[in-house]
Symmetry: C2
Subunit: 166 residues, 2 copies
Protein backbone atom coordinates (compact mmCIF):
# COMPACT_ATOMS: atom_id res chain seq x y z
CA UNK A 1 0.00 0.00 0.00
CA UNK A 2 1.24 3.48 -0.84
CA UNK A 3 1.85 5.31 2.41
CA UNK A 4 -1.39 7.10 3.25
CA UNK A 5 -1.46 10.74 4.19
CA UNK A 6 -3.66 12.13 6.89
CA UNK A 7 -6.54 14.21 5.47
CA UNK A 8 -8.03 16.08 8.32
CA UNK A 9 -10.90 17.82 6.61
CA UNK A 10 -12.07 15.43 3.97
CA UNK A 11 -15.37 16.48 2.43
CA UNK A 12 -18.34 14.59 3.86
CA UNK A 13 -20.10 11.75 2.03
CA UNK A 14 -23.17 12.79 0.04
CA UNK A 15 -26.67 11.68 0.87
CA UNK A 16 -29.09 11.21 -2.04
CA UNK A 17 -31.98 12.13 0.25
CA UNK A 18 -32.28 13.50 3.78
CA UNK A 19 -31.76 10.90 6.46
CA UNK A 20 -35.07 9.65 7.80
CA UNK A 21 -33.45 8.64 11.06
CA UNK A 22 -34.41 10.40 14.27
CA UNK A 23 -32.55 9.86 17.53
CA UNK A 24 -34.57 10.18 20.74
CA UNK A 25 -33.02 9.94 24.20
CA UNK A 26 -35.03 9.35 27.35
CA UNK A 27 -34.08 11.60 30.28
CA UNK A 28 -30.38 10.79 30.72
CA UNK A 29 -28.06 11.14 33.70
CA UNK A 30 -25.20 12.68 31.80
CA UNK A 31 -25.09 15.70 29.52
CA UNK A 32 -21.69 14.39 28.43
CA UNK A 33 -23.38 11.34 26.93
CA UNK A 34 -26.12 13.44 25.35
CA UNK A 35 -23.54 15.74 23.81
CA UNK A 36 -21.51 12.80 22.48
CA UNK A 37 -24.69 11.38 20.96
CA UNK A 38 -25.46 14.76 19.37
CA UNK A 39 -22.04 14.90 17.71
CA UNK A 40 -22.33 11.35 16.38
CA UNK A 41 -25.88 11.97 15.17
CA UNK A 42 -24.95 15.15 13.35
CA UNK A 43 -21.87 13.59 11.73
CA UNK A 44 -24.10 10.66 10.68
CA UNK A 45 -26.40 13.07 8.85
CA UNK A 46 -29.28 12.76 11.32
CA UNK A 47 -31.43 15.88 11.25
CA UNK A 48 -33.58 15.55 14.37
CA UNK A 49 -32.56 14.77 17.91
CA UNK A 50 -35.15 14.60 20.68
CA UNK A 51 -33.96 14.98 24.26
CA UNK A 52 -35.89 14.82 27.52
CA UNK A 53 -35.91 16.46 30.91
CA UNK A 54 -33.07 18.77 31.86
CA UNK A 55 -30.90 17.84 28.91
CA UNK A 56 -28.37 20.47 27.91
CA UNK A 57 -25.73 20.09 25.21
CA UNK A 58 -22.11 20.82 26.10
CA UNK A 59 -20.84 22.50 22.97
CA UNK A 60 -17.21 21.48 23.51
CA UNK A 61 -18.31 17.85 23.23
CA UNK A 62 -21.20 18.19 20.79
CA UNK A 63 -18.90 20.40 18.66
CA UNK A 64 -20.85 21.86 15.78
CA UNK A 65 -23.28 18.99 16.14
CA UNK A 66 -26.14 21.24 17.12
CA UNK A 67 -25.73 23.63 14.21
CA UNK A 68 -27.41 21.57 11.54
CA UNK A 69 -29.15 19.20 13.90
CA UNK A 70 -32.66 20.14 14.97
CA UNK A 71 -32.56 19.53 18.73
CA UNK A 72 -35.84 19.54 20.64
CA UNK A 73 -36.15 19.04 24.39
CA UNK A 74 -39.42 17.52 25.63
CA UNK A 75 -40.70 16.74 29.07
CA UNK A 76 -41.29 13.09 28.23
CA UNK A 77 -40.91 10.86 25.21
CA UNK A 78 -44.29 9.07 24.77
CA UNK A 79 -46.24 11.91 23.09
CA UNK A 80 -43.48 12.58 20.57
CA UNK A 81 -43.05 8.86 19.85
CA UNK A 82 -46.77 8.54 19.16
CA UNK A 83 -46.57 11.50 16.78
CA UNK A 84 -43.63 9.95 14.93
CA UNK A 85 -45.49 6.68 14.60
CA UNK A 86 -48.38 8.52 12.96
CA UNK A 87 -45.88 9.88 10.45
CA UNK A 88 -44.91 6.31 9.56
CA UNK A 89 -41.78 5.99 11.65
CA UNK A 90 -40.80 2.69 13.20
CA UNK A 91 -39.80 3.08 16.86
CA UNK A 92 -36.70 1.05 17.72
CA UNK A 93 -35.23 0.93 21.21
CA UNK A 94 -31.61 0.06 21.96
CA UNK A 95 -31.86 -2.01 25.09
CA UNK A 96 -31.09 -5.34 26.66
CA UNK A 97 -34.60 -6.72 26.95
CA UNK A 98 -36.40 -10.04 26.97
CA UNK A 99 -37.23 -10.22 23.28
CA UNK A 100 -34.66 -7.92 21.77
CA UNK A 101 -33.09 -8.66 18.42
CA UNK A 102 -29.40 -8.68 17.64
CA UNK A 103 -28.37 -5.37 16.05
CA UNK A 104 -25.85 -7.28 13.89
CA UNK A 105 -28.74 -8.95 12.04
CA UNK A 106 -31.45 -6.32 12.37
CA UNK A 107 -32.94 -4.74 9.24
CA UNK A 108 -33.82 -1.13 9.79
CA UNK A 109 -36.72 0.60 8.14
CA UNK A 110 -35.65 3.83 6.51
CA UNK A 111 -38.04 5.87 8.67
CA UNK A 112 -36.77 5.01 12.11
CA UNK A 113 -36.74 6.63 15.51
CA UNK A 114 -33.85 5.21 17.51
CA UNK A 115 -34.62 5.37 21.24
CA UNK A 116 -31.63 5.51 23.59
CA UNK A 117 -32.19 4.50 27.21
CA UNK A 118 -30.95 5.97 30.47
CA UNK A 119 -27.44 4.94 31.57
CA UNK A 120 -28.74 3.17 34.68
CA UNK A 121 -32.45 2.65 34.18
CA UNK A 122 -32.57 1.88 30.50
CA UNK A 123 -35.91 2.47 28.79
CA UNK A 124 -38.92 2.79 31.08
CA UNK A 125 -41.83 0.40 30.86
CA UNK A 126 -44.07 3.13 29.51
CA UNK A 127 -41.70 3.77 26.61
CA UNK A 128 -41.01 0.04 26.07
CA UNK A 129 -44.71 -0.48 25.31
CA UNK A 130 -44.43 2.08 22.50
CA UNK A 131 -41.55 0.35 20.72
CA UNK A 132 -41.99 -1.60 17.50
CA UNK A 133 -38.65 -3.36 17.98
CA UNK A 134 -35.93 -3.64 20.54
CA UNK A 135 -32.37 -4.21 19.39
CA UNK A 136 -29.41 -5.10 21.53
CA UNK A 137 -25.72 -5.17 20.84
CA UNK A 138 -24.01 -8.41 21.84
CA UNK A 139 -21.64 -7.96 24.76
CA UNK A 140 -18.83 -10.43 25.22
CA UNK A 141 -17.14 -9.24 28.38
CA UNK A 142 -17.14 -6.99 31.42
CA UNK A 143 -18.84 -4.71 32.33
CA UNK A 144 -21.52 -6.57 30.32
CA UNK A 145 -22.94 -3.40 28.85
CA UNK A 146 -21.89 -0.58 26.57
CA UNK A 147 -21.89 3.05 27.53
CA UNK A 148 -25.04 4.77 26.19
CA UNK A 149 -23.10 6.97 23.75
CA UNK A 150 -21.07 3.99 22.46
CA UNK A 151 -24.23 1.92 21.97
CA UNK A 152 -25.89 4.83 20.18
CA UNK A 153 -22.83 5.21 17.93
CA UNK A 154 -22.93 1.51 17.02
CA UNK A 155 -26.64 1.63 16.24
CA UNK A 156 -26.29 4.77 14.11
CA UNK A 157 -23.33 3.17 12.31
CA UNK A 158 -25.42 0.07 11.55
CA UNK A 159 -28.28 2.21 10.22
CA UNK A 160 -25.88 4.21 8.00
CA UNK A 161 -24.30 0.95 6.77
CA UNK A 162 -27.76 -0.13 5.59
CA UNK A 163 -28.62 3.26 4.11
CA UNK A 164 -25.24 4.60 3.02
CA UNK A 165 -26.75 7.31 0.84
CA UNK A 166 -29.81 8.10 2.92
CA UNK B 1 -44.73 -7.57 19.66
CA UNK B 2 -45.17 -8.73 23.24
CA UNK B 3 -44.15 -5.89 25.51
CA UNK B 4 -40.45 -6.36 26.23
CA UNK B 5 -39.07 -6.25 29.72
CA UNK B 6 -35.81 -4.61 30.60
CA UNK B 7 -33.11 -7.16 31.44
CA UNK B 8 -30.32 -5.28 33.02
CA UNK B 9 -27.80 -8.04 33.53
CA UNK B 10 -28.28 -10.35 30.62
CA UNK B 11 -25.52 -12.95 30.37
CA UNK B 12 -22.90 -12.04 27.76
CA UNK B 13 -22.70 -13.67 24.32
CA UNK B 14 -20.29 -16.58 24.08
CA UNK B 15 -17.16 -16.55 21.98
CA UNK B 16 -16.05 -19.86 20.42
CA UNK B 17 -12.44 -18.70 20.58
CA UNK B 18 -10.65 -15.77 22.15
CA UNK B 19 -10.96 -12.55 20.17
CA UNK B 20 -7.88 -11.96 18.06
CA UNK B 21 -8.55 -8.26 17.99
CA UNK B 22 -6.14 -5.87 19.69
CA UNK B 23 -6.90 -2.17 20.14
CA UNK B 24 -3.94 0.21 20.12
CA UNK B 25 -4.26 3.94 20.79
CA UNK B 26 -1.58 6.46 19.91
CA UNK B 27 -0.85 9.01 22.66
CA UNK B 28 -4.27 10.61 23.15
CA UNK B 29 -5.28 13.98 24.56
CA UNK B 30 -8.07 12.69 26.74
CA UNK B 31 -8.08 9.96 29.37
CA UNK B 32 -11.88 10.14 29.13
CA UNK B 33 -11.68 8.89 25.55
CA UNK B 34 -9.14 6.21 26.45
CA UNK B 35 -11.35 5.00 29.29
CA UNK B 36 -14.43 4.93 27.07
CA UNK B 37 -12.45 2.91 24.51
CA UNK B 38 -11.34 0.51 27.27
CA UNK B 39 -14.94 -0.12 28.33
CA UNK B 40 -16.10 -0.73 24.76
CA UNK B 41 -13.10 -2.98 24.05
CA UNK B 42 -13.67 -5.07 27.13
CA UNK B 43 -17.41 -5.42 26.51
CA UNK B 44 -16.55 -6.44 22.92
CA UNK B 45 -14.40 -9.28 24.23
CA UNK B 46 -11.09 -7.69 23.26
CA UNK B 47 -8.29 -8.98 25.49
CA UNK B 48 -5.43 -6.60 24.80
CA UNK B 49 -5.41 -2.82 24.79
CA UNK B 50 -2.20 -0.91 24.09
CA UNK B 51 -1.99 2.70 25.21
CA UNK B 52 0.78 5.25 24.79
CA UNK B 53 2.38 8.08 26.70
CA UNK B 54 0.75 9.29 29.90
CA UNK B 55 -2.43 7.32 29.43
CA UNK B 56 -4.31 6.53 32.61
CA UNK B 57 -7.69 4.83 32.80
CA UNK B 58 -10.47 6.52 34.76
CA UNK B 59 -12.17 3.58 36.43
CA UNK B 60 -15.56 5.32 36.73
CA UNK B 61 -15.66 5.50 32.93
CA UNK B 62 -13.76 2.32 32.03
CA UNK B 63 -15.94 0.53 34.61
CA UNK B 64 -14.69 -3.03 35.05
CA UNK B 65 -13.18 -2.78 31.60
CA UNK B 66 -9.64 -3.11 32.88
CA UNK B 67 -10.31 -6.22 34.94
CA UNK B 68 -10.24 -8.77 32.17
CA UNK B 69 -8.56 -6.55 29.62
CA UNK B 70 -4.77 -6.71 29.47
CA UNK B 71 -3.82 -3.01 29.35
CA UNK B 72 -0.22 -2.15 28.50
CA UNK B 73 1.14 1.39 28.32
CA UNK B 74 4.09 1.97 25.97
CA UNK B 75 6.18 4.99 25.19
CA UNK B 76 5.42 4.78 21.47
CA UNK B 77 3.45 2.52 19.18
CA UNK B 78 5.86 1.53 16.34
CA UNK B 79 7.86 -1.18 18.19
CA UNK B 80 4.72 -2.92 19.45
CA UNK B 81 3.06 -2.71 16.02
CA UNK B 82 6.13 -4.33 14.43
CA UNK B 83 5.97 -7.11 17.02
CA UNK B 84 2.27 -7.71 16.32
CA UNK B 85 2.96 -7.85 12.61
CA UNK B 86 5.55 -10.59 13.19
CA UNK B 87 2.83 -12.52 15.01
CA UNK B 88 0.68 -12.37 11.89
CA UNK B 89 -1.57 -9.46 12.84
CA UNK B 90 -2.84 -7.05 10.23
CA UNK B 91 -2.43 -3.43 11.32
CA UNK B 92 -5.52 -1.34 10.52
CA UNK B 93 -5.75 2.36 11.27
CA UNK B 94 -9.01 4.24 11.72
CA UNK B 95 -8.35 7.55 10.03
CA UNK B 96 -9.45 9.92 7.33
CA UNK B 97 -6.54 9.48 4.92
CA UNK B 98 -5.82 9.70 1.20
CA UNK B 99 -6.34 6.02 0.38
CA UNK B 100 -8.53 4.87 3.22
CA UNK B 101 -11.27 2.30 2.67
CA UNK B 102 -14.85 2.60 3.77
CA UNK B 103 -15.39 0.72 7.05
CA UNK B 104 -18.89 -0.22 5.84
CA UNK B 105 -17.35 -2.42 3.12
CA UNK B 106 -14.07 -3.40 4.75
CA UNK B 107 -13.31 -7.08 5.39
CA UNK B 108 -11.33 -7.54 8.57
CA UNK B 109 -8.76 -10.26 9.06
CA UNK B 110 -9.38 -12.16 12.26
CA UNK B 111 -5.96 -11.20 13.65
CA UNK B 112 -6.21 -7.44 13.61
CA UNK B 113 -4.67 -4.57 15.51
CA UNK B 114 -7.02 -1.60 15.34
CA UNK B 115 -5.06 1.65 15.65
CA UNK B 116 -6.94 4.66 17.02
CA UNK B 117 -5.52 8.11 16.28
CA UNK B 118 -5.17 11.20 18.41
CA UNK B 119 -8.26 13.43 18.72
CA UNK B 120 -6.55 16.36 16.96
CA UNK B 121 -3.51 14.97 15.21
CA UNK B 122 -4.83 11.62 14.04
CA UNK B 123 -2.22 8.96 13.31
CA UNK B 124 1.35 10.23 12.90
CA UNK B 125 3.24 9.70 9.65
CA UNK B 126 5.59 7.24 11.34
CA UNK B 127 2.65 5.06 12.41
CA UNK B 128 0.83 5.51 9.08
CA UNK B 129 3.77 3.87 7.29
CA UNK B 130 3.29 0.78 9.49
CA UNK B 131 -0.37 0.28 8.61
CA UNK B 132 -1.57 -2.47 6.29
CA UNK B 133 -4.91 -0.74 5.77
CA UNK B 134 -6.61 2.49 6.68
CA UNK B 135 -10.35 2.51 7.18
CA UNK B 136 -12.57 5.52 7.55
CA UNK B 137 -16.15 5.91 8.63
CA UNK B 138 -18.27 7.97 6.25
CA UNK B 139 -19.34 11.29 7.76
CA UNK B 140 -22.41 13.02 6.43
CA UNK B 141 -22.55 16.20 8.43
CA UNK B 142 -20.94 18.60 10.87
CA UNK B 143 -18.47 18.50 12.56
CA UNK B 144 -17.24 16.26 9.71
CA UNK B 145 -15.56 13.84 12.08
CA UNK B 146 -16.46 11.41 14.81
CA UNK B 147 -15.12 11.56 18.33
CA UNK B 148 -12.25 9.07 18.76
CA UNK B 149 -14.20 6.87 21.19
CA UNK B 150 -17.27 6.83 18.93
CA UNK B 151 -15.15 5.93 15.90
CA UNK B 152 -13.44 3.18 17.89
CA UNK B 153 -16.84 1.84 18.99
CA UNK B 154 -18.07 1.73 15.40
CA UNK B 155 -14.93 -0.06 14.20
CA UNK B 156 -15.10 -2.61 17.05
CA UNK B 157 -18.78 -3.15 16.32
CA UNK B 158 -18.02 -3.80 12.64
CA UNK B 159 -15.27 -6.29 13.58
CA UNK B 160 -17.62 -8.12 15.98
CA UNK B 161 -20.34 -8.16 13.33
CA UNK B 162 -17.92 -9.99 11.03
CA UNK B 163 -16.68 -12.35 13.77
CA UNK B 164 -19.73 -12.69 16.03
CA UNK B 165 -18.30 -15.71 17.85
CA UNK B 166 -14.64 -14.78 17.83
Amino acid sequence: MKTPEHQRHKPPSKLDRPRELVVACVAMRSNVNISAIARTASASGVQRLVLCGNARLISKIARDGDEQLDVEVRRTLPPVLRAFREEGYRIVGVEQATNSQNLQAFEFHRRTVLVIGNERLGISEEVLTLLDDVVEIPVYGMPHSFNAAAAAAMAMYEYCRQFPTG
